[in-house]
């Protein structure tokens, strides 16, 4: 049973690498997770992952990637909500001042 895998992702950099690596480290099933950009002039990324013996690293990676997608779309909708809230509150303040 393999418990380690190296993923090579092309055309990506630290933006994705660090995000995925930090997410993997927060997973209890992960024994080792690390990433590197082999050469700064080439857009390639290697993520090395080792999980506990009862889990498949590919499945763990997949789950965490889906989690990240979910977290980011939550971010997007929460940000939209927060902006609408802000706009409402600023409009409200302007309105209440003009009432004086």
């Amino acid at each position: 049973m393999t418990d380690a895998a190296s993923f090579i992702i092309r055309k990506e950099d630290h933006t994705l690498g660090n995000l995925v690596r930090m997410k993997l480290l927060r997973d209890e099933r992960v024994i080792f997770a690390g990433y590197k950009v082999p050469h700064p002039l080439k857009y390639d990324l290697i993520i090395k992952l080792r999980t506990t013996k009862d889990h498949n690293p590919v499945d763990v990676m997949k789950e965490n990637l889906e989690d990240i997608q979910g977290q980011l779309s939550k971010f997007q909708s929460k940000f939209g909500e927060a902006m609408r809230q802000w706009e409402m509150e600023s409009a409200h303040i302007v309105q209440s001042h003009s009432g004086w």
């Binding site: 950099d13 630290h14 933006t15 994705l16 660090n18 995000l19 690596r21 930090m22 997410k23 927060r26 997973d27 209890e28 099933r29 789950e63 889906e66 989690d67 979910g70 977290q71 980011l72 939550k74 971010f75 929460k78 940000f79 909500e81 927060a82 902006m83 809230q85 802000w86 706009e87």
Partner: protein, 262 residues
């Protein structure tokens, strides 16, 4: 689904502190630092904008040479809130001239006065048809001035009497990774707000003078002492700059661990 421990700290929350047409400050809680960092990196280098990419100079009597002017043109910021309507030039199946991937501008200025004339971004004329909803791509003018009278157009070059400048410039969609001219932001930063904690047990063992010493050691006035209750309290955690003076002072009065800063 998540097995991590950050999720147990709580739901991700967003609080907007300030928002204006050119500036936004918000607080993001209960996320790992890699998330705002990834956002920062994407804002700087992967958010698309429009910028001049191809310049055909027809007349140039100015003191600046052709490529110099073309370089300056590339750096002129173009208002690009409708950039999502455009396709990248390499994705478009046109043969070079189309409205879906490019915006054409021209400029034709001649100095006829004795005084030198500034050729500015306001002299650029958009030749392409405006997109639906009346949105056009146009050069941003001036600094953060909402007031139209105070806006300053960007100077491209200066012409003396009798000198002229005439060219066609094409703007297209790109990202910061390709060229810095496509960067939509001048600044995108984040920092983790410090959480300052006073250990109650160690605190109760100190006398009022010691508490005052700790309070005064902070250059940012994070702490305050109450003379009636003789307590050391936190006045404003947001002022903390993590200089750790309070931690060092606590150690010097034999009370290490009094202050913890995350």
């Amino acid at each position: 689904m998540s097995h991590g421990f950050y999720e147990r700290l709580g739901e991700m929350t967003i609080e907007i502190r300030d928002a204006s047409p050119n500036h936004c400050v918000f607080v993001l809680s209960n996320v790992d630092r890699s998330v705002p960092n990834a956002l920062r990196r994407v804002l700087i280098s992967e958010t698309p904008t429009m910028a001049f990419d191809f310049v055909e100079i027809q007349e140039n009597d100015s003191v600046l040479n052709d490529e110099f002017i073309a370089h300056r043109l590339g750096l002129v910021p173009l208002l690009s809130s409708n950039v999502s309507h455009f396709k990248y030039a390499h994705e478009c199946d046109c043969d070079g001239e189309c409205d879906k991937c490019r915006v054409e501008f021209e400029l034709n200025v001649r100095c006829t006065t004795d005084e030198p004339l500034d050729v500015t971004s306001s002299d650029l004329r958009n030749l392409s048809a405006p997109l639906a909803m009346g949105l056009t791509v146009r050069p941003a003018v001036g600094r953060d001035c909402p007031n139209e009278d105070e806006q300053e157009p960007i100077v491209l070059c200066r012409l003396g009497k009798g000198q002229s400048l005439k060219f066609r410039a094409t703007a297209r969609k790109g990202i910061g990774k390709e060229h810095a001219k496509f960067q939509p932001v001048s600044v995108a930063t984040f920092y983790a707000e410090p959480v300052v904690r006073i250990d109650p047990e160690i605190h109760d063992q100190l006398n009022f003078e010691q508490k005052e010493t700790v309070e005064q050691s902070c250059p940012s006035l994070v702490f305050k002492t109450d003379s009636t209750t003789e307590m050391l309290e936190i006045e404003d955690m947001d002022r903390c700059t993590r200089c750790m003076e309070c931690v060092a002072t606590a150690k010097s009065i034999d009370a290490p661990g009094l202050i913890k800063i995350d």
